[in-house]
């Protein structure tokens, strides 16, 4: 297919961006880093009437941390900027690790978390850890702004709850909580540069050495990132030793819904979920103890 032909718009403010998006609705596509959108435009598999770049929208470039309010990541902030931020490195090590596993140096210098989420690939590496951290999304649009838990955002592969004319403007991640810690593990069939074939994000909260709460999200093993509630239930009240974490890993594998594709077989993915879950839980428990 020949490359798409489109009008290019480069608004200078959020108000102008939202005005353009409400005018074009689903005939416009938003360009953030371009690492997902541009290949589709060049191949012609996406043929929007207009492409709207966020590069010069200053209001979307904010990256701030507050101990009470947590982290706010603007829609135009690149992966590398998030990873390099001293407060993110100090308080969100599992997020930094997840982003460091994502693609290549150049792609991390271009791509944005907002773009990674809006692309809604089942294997998006930023999704499981942000779900485990109970991130919320700030969304602007023709009917005003709204806020949505990330857990309500993904509808299926490539599908989100963003309506035509709406823009994801920021991602808000709650502040660190006492005795709770997070970890992320992923694996691909080839090198770390390839997309994840399976990934697991885990949260463990300890009270008196026992697991008072856990959250587990699985990536690339379902149409969207999946929660593993039965694995979380296995952990509740237990001491995080090898046997219990292995049992939780098996439960998570049973809850995964992988398919076989060019990257890996369903059977291998399921086995990897049990391994990755066990390791992510072990690291999260270790961090929670510290």
């Amino acid at each position: 297919m020949p490359a798409a032909r489109f009008e290019f718009l480069s608004p200078r403010s959020l108000a102008e961006t939202l005005e353009i998006l409400s005018r074009y609705g689903d005939r416009a596509r938003v360009l953030a880093g371009g690492t997902d959108l541009v290949p589709k435009l060049l191949r012609g598999t996406l043929r929007p009437e207009a492409v709207v770049s966020l590069r010069h929208v200053e209001e979307l470039r904010g990256l701030t941390f507050d101990p009470d309010r947590g982290l706010s990541i603007g829609a135009a902030v690149r992966h590398a900027e998030v990873m390099e931020h001293p407060d993110v490195r100090a308080h969100y090590p599992a997020l930094v690790h997840a982003l460091s596993q994502l693609a290549t140096v150049q792609v991390r210098n271009m791509g944005t978390i907002a773009g990674n989420l809006c692309n809604a690939s089942p294997c998006a590496d930023s999704a499981p850890i942000l779900l485990a951290r109970e991130a919320r999304l700030e969304i602007g649009g023709p009917a005003g702004s709204r806020s949505l838990p990330l857990s309500e955002f993904f509808l299926g592969p490539g599908r989100t709850s963003l309506a035509a004319g709406e823009l994801l403007t920021a991602i808000r991640v709650p502040p660190p909580a006492p005795r709770a810690a997070f970890a992320f593990r992923s694996i691909s069939g080839r090198s770390r540069v390839d997309m994840s074939a399976a990934s697991v994000a885990a949260m463990v909260r300890l009270e008196d050495g026992r697991i008072a709460g856990a959250r587990i999200f699985l990536g690339a093993v379902g149409p969207t990132a999946l929660r593993a509630p039965r694995a979380e239930e296995v952990l509740r009240g237990g001491v995080p030793d090898d046997a219990l974490l292995a049992q939780a890993g098996e439960a998570a594998a049973a809850e995964s819904k992988p398919i076989s594709d060019v990257r890996a077989t369903a059977a291998w993915r399921r086995r990897m979920v049990s391994v990755l879950a066990r390791r992510a839980l072990a690291e999260a428990a270790e961090r929670a103890r510290a």
Binding site: A3, G34, V38, L42, S53, R78, V107, V193
Partner: protein, 161 residues
């Protein structure tokens, strides 16, 4: 659809070109500005042969729209050397350490090295290798490339000269 007049700042010089919005920065550099040091490899963001610096960060020019690079500072391999008589330390190290075989990946490798050393002036070997995660050498000459970057770091002149 009409072409747009775009002003690109490449290696410190302003260039005005007329391009359609779907023209990549890679094609604009190579075809419109005749700066063919930046290579075109996979065209899909995987091989890194087309790497340039955009506002100081390494990016793949094959997935960057030329119209979206307006107002940004672009550095290509042609802009690395400080003058006709002297190469950038990273280039000098690539030559001295024999880090070049067919040469196709070299411009991208050098720009990735310059970006890495700007962020981390004395990288460990694993950090150098991670810094090259987005650049493929099909001659598989990685050992000498890593050695050259270590050498450039030892000169203490890693970033832009």
């Amino acid at each position: 659809m009409k072409k747009r007049l775009v002003s690109l700042r490449v290696n410190g010089a302003e260039h005005e070109i007329a391009v359609p919005p779907w023209r990549t920065l890679n094609d604009a550099l190579r075809e419109d500005l005749r700066l063919t040091g930046t290579k075109k490899g996979c065209g899909d963001g995987d091989c890194g042969a087309c790497t340039v610096l955009l506002d100081g960060r390494s990016v793949v020019s094959c997935l960057t729209l030329a119209v979206d690079a307006e107002g940004c500072d672009i550095v290509t391999v042609e802009g690395l050397a400080p003058g006709r008589e002297r190469l950038h330390p990273v280039q000098q190290s690539f030559i001295e350490k024999g880090a070049i075989q067919c040469g196709f990946c070299t411009p991208g490798m050098e720009l990735s090295a310059v970006f890495l050393l700007g962020k981390n002036p004395s990288p460990s070997e694993p950090e150098i290798r991670a810094g090259l995660s987005g650049n493929l050498c099909r001659c598989t000459g990685y050992a000498k490339i890593v050695e050259a970057i270590r050498d450039a770091a030892a000169r203490g002149t890693g970033g832009r000269s």
